[in-house]
Symmetry: C2
């Protein structure tokens, strides 16, 4: 039988390894090996495409609604990671030829993703390939990739690379066709906007080549087709020599804090200049800088130690790694999505999970991040007031699912159709899973108790808790027994709806 | 070197054959081997998916606009042809394992597409597979597929099949998420609508299984996810025995003539009943009935003979085959798209090609089709009047590109961005490629001269020609030479814009 797909034998070195290419497990590895920095999340789909893959680039807080029947979700932004290699006329594709060795590793200490492959093409030729990728934790907009190819024999290598705006959320397209630009014959730019929330995105990409460390200029073209800009780079390489392509890419939006007050052309210029800066640093310097940032911002701040097997410590750090990826600590207008930024699940919406499961880590290890998350809740009060008023209650009733500040309740009202009856299946959580309002207040109180942040309480906390209390008072119903009851709720066990006096909620 | 991809050695039998699986030539064969009937066009993407494929199902006349900046186009409808096979735990995928024999053939006489493959799986097991597909020329909504698998050894076969609504036009999604239904635990239905033109589509699919000709009931499940409904059918088959799955699918829209006066539930019922009718007939009967229809409607009506090589006659019939596919002869509210129904190129729009290149065939061989196409032009007069008035002219100025009757001019105003300057590239055809108005009038006159259809002329033709003449008179400019001139036009050579007194146009 096959060996285990995931290997933890290098857990001590903070490394998780995918031991073989398994086309039936693409999604699992894409999510587990995800890269990101809280501003963006990038699923680790391979450079070359396969059926069944899910390529996702999600930028925190950029919610958009595809159609009036749907709720807002984080749109799947343009892809900059697809790089197609043609090696002596044959597409590099692990489904064909022979895989002589394979290992994809994520170093969670540095955030560096590496894939090493030795591949025998169907035409019999052998190639040694390395793919590296990093999303900078310091430079929140920066994605850097490196592809190294060493053919055994002299040959021709074509790399096709650019920006692909045909990505969708399971088929829903959130972006306009956008504008494509090509600067100085080397910088690709793509500028679409979201169709409902009207957020402009700016994507940039550029490429640099060396052979055996010497800069080379490949033959290249430029192709702009609908929603796509890309180039084919063609080089001849001698056997045993290594061709390296470094690709620098970035993404900005006019919802970014840095974009405030800028016109779109100014934002485009800012993004392009940042790209040029990244390119002049090069892949190694960007990766090292990002690794230092991980050390400073995460590992020194929260140096958890466990007296036990290496795997246990790795597991804790793996969680810290992913919590860093998913948390938009840079912007208090945003919160954490239930699936983080590693996929389209839960549409990027914030649930009670933040306060109950995630907040404690930040309260104890990074209280400024906890405060930002709790300021988000304060900034969401208008929506909570509106929801309470709409339902005939007082105070603040928090949305079960929460997205952009003024989106209000974004729980889908219906979850598809019952396959047998054909009736729409109503999602009751947005209506009566009311414990979220207590969860939010609990989070605020816990934050205050642990940090003693009186400033937060004076500016935001007391008001928030008081408004929640008003809601609870108006929501209670007197019973025939002379007691107050909390009827018709959904508790945390979502299989049971319309429960009276649910223990957790009460 | 490789042999030729396309083999015409069976041209005498009306058969064109793809001799090997070439993943770099997917698009070419998808379009050349396209199926259809004028109501719908179905690109011949393989059942199993590959990177680089373009799956298209286009229904004539169902134009939609993705965003206000864009023009209408034929939306890429849900896919019913994707069938994923898992053979003893391994995905059937021609990129892996070994192809022991391969031939995909299109019989243009009958419209039957057949693919025969003998495949050795990476696990060493050998399978003989046949895939057949037909789009009925008689039953305009019907698509039927058949998959036959014969394993050498006993084993387990899983077929995953259903309706996939995640298709887009190069990333632009024209449909809402839609409703999914499952009737009687066997009939799949998917009902989305177009986002701007508000056309409801109804897709149905069902499956039937036999082993060695005996009906069998596979283990099956039902999966409804976003924009998708599908089942996994699992069967165990003995070595040497043949498992056959027949799949019946159809598509209706509430823009269909048959849908007039029906509510959406009534249309859904009509579609479902039609599906049941198709299923009870079975694949062979549907294919034979369609072949008879080809004989009656095309080959007997236009029995062209050429005294020359087999290939020459095949080439003429190949053109006849494709002209039948692309022509919506069933509905005078529609006309022929510049790329037919075989792909998304030219957005399904009608150009001058209809009158100049395609109409003569129909005038001489199927005058009732020619009349329908010319009635479309008459029904488009309001748009032509509006365009003339908008530009300060009299009479009727026909749109350079034409879609649904009241869409008016649908030529994109800009064709992307100049990659070097970043400026939008203006498409002048919609503004000044005015010879279309003469082309339309010429087509009407040619139709009348050849058919003597006085009824058409009395009802439509004279009025149309007169309105075109009024336009020309108002468009002419007196020159200093005392002559009338036609300045600032684009002639049929579209590389030269802003030409005075272009010979063709004058």
């Amino acid at each position: 039988m096959n060996s285990a797909l995931l290997d933890f034998s290098r857990a001590k070195d903070w490394i998780i390894t995918e031991t073989r290419f398994d086309p039936t497990a693409l999604g699992k590895v894409e999510a587990n090996f995800c890269l990101g920095n809280g501003y963006l999340g990038l699923r680790s789909a391979t450079e070359e495409r396969y059926p069944g893959e899910t390529r996702d680039l999600l930028v925190a807080g950029t919610f958009d609604r595809f159609s009036p029947e749907e709720v807002t979700e984080l749109p799947n932004a343009a892809d900059v990671t697809n790089i197609e290699l043609t090696l002596d006329g044959v597409r590099f594709d692990l489904m064909q030829g022979e895989i002589l060795s394979y290992a994809r590793s994520l170093n969670i200490r540095t955030g560096l993703l590496t894939r090493d492959v030795v591949w025998r093409s169907p035409n019999g030729k052998r190639y040694t390939l390395r793919f590296e990728r990093v999303v900078s934790l310091r430079r929140l907009h920066t994605i850097a990739l490196r592809v190294s190819v060493t053919p055994d024999e002299d040959g021709e290598i074509v790399l096709r690379s650019g920006i692909d705006g045909r990505m969708t959320n399971d088929g829903s397209q959130h972006f306009t066709e956008g504008q494509t630009r090509y600067y100085d014959r080397q910088y690709q730019q793509f500028v679409p906007r979201t169709i409902q929330s009207d957020i402009h995105f700016v994507f940039d990409a550029s490429h640099r080549f060396t052979v055996e460390g010497e800069a080379v200029e490949p033959k290249s073209d430029i192709n702009i087709v609908r929603r796509r800009i890309f180039s084919n780079f063609t080089l001849r390489v001698k056997g045993g020599q290594t061709l390296v392509m470094e690709k620098f890419a970035n993404v900005y939006t006019d919802r970014d804090k840095e974009a405030e007050g800028l016109t779109l052309p100014e934002l485009q210029e800012l993004a392009l200049n940042a790209l040029k800066g990244d390119e002049s640093l090069g892949f190694d310097a960007l990766a090292e800088d990002s690794a230092r940032c991980w050390e400073e911002k995460v590992w020194r701040r929260a140096p958890i130690e466990i007296d036990g097997p290496d795997f246990d410590l790795f597991a804790i750090r793996f969680v810290q790694y992913h919590m860093q990826l998913m948390t938009p600590a840079h912007d208090r207008r945003m919160n954490i999505g239930a699936k983080g930024l590693s996929g389209e699940g839960y549409k990027g919406h914030t649930f009670w999970d933040t306060e109950i499961f995630l907040l404690p880590y930040f309260i104890f290890c990074m209280p400024e991040v906890a405060r930002s998350l709790e300021e988000y809740r304060y900034l969401s009060l208008p929506g909570a007031h509106a929801k309470a008023a709409h339902n005939g209650f007082e105070g603040a009733q928090y949305p079960w699912e929460s997205a952009w500040l003024d989106d209000g309740e974004v729980t889908p009202e219906y979850l598809g159709t019952d396959i047998l009856t054909g009736q729409l299946i109503k999602v009751w959580s947005g209506f009566i899973e009311i414990h979220i309002t207590a969860d939010v207040a609990f989070g605020v109180w816990q934050y205050y108790m642990c940090t003693g942040d009186q400033d937060y309480m004076d500016k935001y906390g007391y008001e928030l808790i008081l408004d929640c209390a008003k809601f609870w008072l108006s929501r209670l119903e007197p019973g025939e027994d002379g007691m107050l009851h909390m009827n018709n709720v959904v508790g945390p066990d979502e299989y049971k709806e319309h429960v009276n006096d649910n223990a957790f909620t009460n």
